[in-house]
């Protein structure tokens, strides 16, 4: 037992060092190896703690218990249990409102859309000459990257709701700052004229995007099992695709949005036929995939 515990401890530490030395491994291999290695480390901590008790080493009740408790905490965290007791909070397990983090992410997307629409409204690339607009574009790209990172971290369970909310607030403030920076005295006349011509069409597909967003949220609130289906990143998942379309619509240029219309129609028909939640006619057939 002692031999096994310490061998496992040494092997897991060496494993981390080997992985940190940037071996030529695919991302997927590294992803699994580091997690298996950490699980080995946690198991070795528990075994070392047990050894303290078994061998009656000095300080066994204190050191042994501490090692076992830390090992259990680490193992729980590695298998996905998150709370204030064992590590960073996990929105899926601790959220009092199951849809809250989704709503916050929707806010993130909405803020990003505001930025993108501001950029689009500036006209074709050759007209984007002013320093302010170039700055706007650059920061919009940076925010897009940040929003994607946050999204990835949320699905990994790395960030909690509080952090997401803070980031959302930060993005919101950033959006206001950028708007002021781009047009300190309000948008120029040329922009206003151009915007007037585009408003009707843009509003039309923005409204559609909003409806899709609302329908997804409404559907998930009505049928909690749909949320799991939505959150699973299975290829061809109609909910996931619909959400992607909604996001695309929110940021796409007008021609790009037009290209999406047939796909939107077929997805909506599919969902309405199989679930009935989009038109509010009831549960229908729930096991959609």
């Amino acid at each position: 037992m002692t031999y096994t515990a310490f061998t496992l401890l040494v092997v897991s530490v060496l494993g981390v060092l080997a992985l940190a030395a940037r071996p030529r491994l695919s991302h997927r291999s590294r992803y699994f190896l580091i997690r298996i290695d950490m699980a080995g480390f946690a198991a070795s901590l528990i075994l070392v703690g047990v050894c303290f008790y078994e061998r009656g080493w000095p300080g066994a009740p204190l050191v042994g218990t501490l090692a076992i408790a830390l090992g259990v905490q680490l193992l729980l965290w590695l298998v996905g249990v998150r709370s204030e007791w064992v590590g960073d909070r996990h929105p899926r397990l601790t959220a009092p409102e199951p849809h809250e983090e989704e709503t916050t992410l929707t806010h993130l997307l909405r803020i990003y859309r505001i930025l993108r629409s501001l950029r689009e409204a500036a006209g074709p690339p050759e007209r984007r000459q002013s320093e302010a607009l170039r700055c706007l574009e650059e920061v919009a790209m940076r925010l897009h990257k940040l929003a994607s990172e946050v999204d990835a971290q949320l699905s990994e369970g790395i960030v909690g709701r509080g952090e997401i909310s803070s980031i959302a607030k930060h993005l919101h403030e950033e959006a206001i700052r950028i708007r002021l920076q781009a047009w300190p005295e309000g948008p120029p006349e040329a922009y206003l004229e151009q915007e007037q011509r585009r408003t009707d069409l843009i509003r039309k597909y923005r409204e559609e995007a909003g409806k899709i967003d609302e329908a997804i949220v409404r559907g998930m609130m009505k049928y909690p099992e749909l949320e799991d289906l939505y959150l699973s990143s299975k290829e061809g998942n109609p909910f996931r695709r619909l959400a992607d379309i909604a996001s695309l619509l929110g940021v796409a240029s007008l021609p790009q949005a037009m290209e999406l219309i047939p796909e939107i129609e077929s997805t909506l028909v599919f969902l309405t036929k199989h679930t009935g939640f989009l038109d509010g006619t009831g549960p229908g057939k729930r096991g959609v995939d």
Partner: protein, 96 residues
């Protein structure tokens, strides 16, 4: 002089509602975080201090299984740190 286009009442209201919802969500999440944090730290600190005092001088405080209580308190208090280190390590290796 450039003039900003006045927003429609609906758009203005919608934006205000969105901002209010965002702030409300943030307040709720922050409270939830604070309560969880304080509960964990108070329990951890109580276990660690109580267990250590009982271990050093059982006459002052009589706690059954004092070493274990102190160890569990220390784990609750500091376990998150270990998990955070592991999390950063995993993230760093993932991002290589």
């Amino acid at each position: 002089m450039a003039q900003s286009k006045p927003k429609s009442k609906v758009a203005e209201t919608r934006e205000e509602i969105e901002v209010r919802a965002l702030l409300r969500n943030e307040r709720l999440a922050a409270w939830s975080d604070y309560i969880g944090f304080v509960t964990a730290k108070v329990t951890g600190a109580a276990g660690l201090i109580g267990g250590t005092v009982a271990l050093l001088d059982p006459g002052v405080l009589n706690v059954p299984h004092a070493p274990q209580v102190a160890a569990i308190g220390a784990a609750i208090l500091g376990g998150k740190g270990l998990v955070s280190v592991v999390k950063r390590l995993i993230k760093a290796i993932d991002e290589q």
